[in-house]
């Protein structure tokens, strides 16, 4: 049953990703990206990381994808649809990507991972919250500073200069 869910989500995620890369229309690429993100959120649910699944939907689909669509709409340069999507190196890059995938797949299937059968703790979300303010408090604060800096930076960079 889990394997069926995995297969369906894998088709959705990988299919969406392939369509993102191959689509001629940029807006359609963005929508396929949103579909891929939903598939990944499904994977997080399958992996019993529910908080992360909701975070994925809220941040990636709710914020980042919306930003991407904004940027697409604000940079419409009436691109000729017959203009090529890929630069002239697409064959070489495709070959290297396939090679990379084959290398990764070989390693991943050969290594004996130290799998330990166990269920996530019942208070996983509480532990996550406690971790953020105790063990990982410094990265947490640095991430907050990063978000403020990027927000200010993005506003200043994209500001209309009169």
């Amino acid at each position: 049953m889990e394997a069926v869910a995995f297969a369906i989500l894998a088709v959705v995620t990988l299919g969406g990703a392939i369509m993102v890369v191959l689509s001629q229309n940029l807006m359609r690429s963005a929508l396929w990206l949103i579909l891929s993100f939903f598939g990944i959120a499904g994977f997080f649910v399958l992996l019993q990381a529910e908080f992360l699944a909701v975070t994925q939907v809220l941040v990636y689909i709710g914020a980042i994808s919306t930003l991407i669509i904004f940027a697409i709409m604000l940079s419409r340069n009436f691109m000729d649809p017959s203009e090529p999507r890929f630069n002239e190196q697409w064959g070489l890059v495709g070959g290297f990507s396939a090679l990379l995938f084959i290398g990764l797949a070989t390693v991943v299937t050969r290594v004996a991972w130290p799998v330990s059968a166990g269920l996530p703790p019942a208070d996983a979300i509480q532990r996550l919250g406690i971790d953020f303010v105790t063990a990982y408090a410094v990265p947490f604060e640095v991430a907050s500073v990063l978000l403020v800096v990027s927000m200010i930076g993005a506003i200043i960079i994209a500001r209309d200069r009169e």
């Binding site: 394997a3 995995f6 894998a10 990988l14 990703a17 392939i18 993102v20 890369v21 940029l26 990206l33 994977f43 992996l47 019993q48 990381a49 992360l52 975070t55 941040v59 990636y60 980042i64 930003l67 991407i68 940027a71 604000l74 940079s75 203009e83 999507r85 890929f86 630069n87 190196q89 890059v93 495709g94 990507s97 990379l100 995938f101 990764l104 797949a105 991943v108 991972w113 799998v115 330990s116 166990g118 269920l119 996530p120 703790p121 996983a124 532990r127 996550l128 971790d131 953020f132 990265p139 991430a143 990063l146 978000l147 800096v149 990027s150 930076g153 993005a154 960079i157 994209a158 209309d160």
Partner: protein
Amino acid sequence: MSVQLSWYLLLAAGLFCIGGFGALTRRNAVAVLMGIELMLNAVNINLVAFWRYTNVAQMTGQVFAVFVITVAAAEAAVGLALIIAIYRQRRTVNVEEMNTMKG
């Protein structure tokens, strides 16, 4: 047939390679950014899969994944702001035409 860890790793590897191909070959700058987001999501799948199958007691995997999402959001914001600014100046989002710093 229960889902193995290696299935998740294979999926993430595939997603990463697809995103990498998109980031390296697309001519539109926003499409390049979309490829980068795909790669970051592949990393997230890897992190959470390793958390789930290897060390479920500690939440380190999920914490790391949340930080990756945070950094991806910050980077997407700044990257898209840059694209908008460049479009305003030069009326193009084609990465091949953004070459004024070329030697």
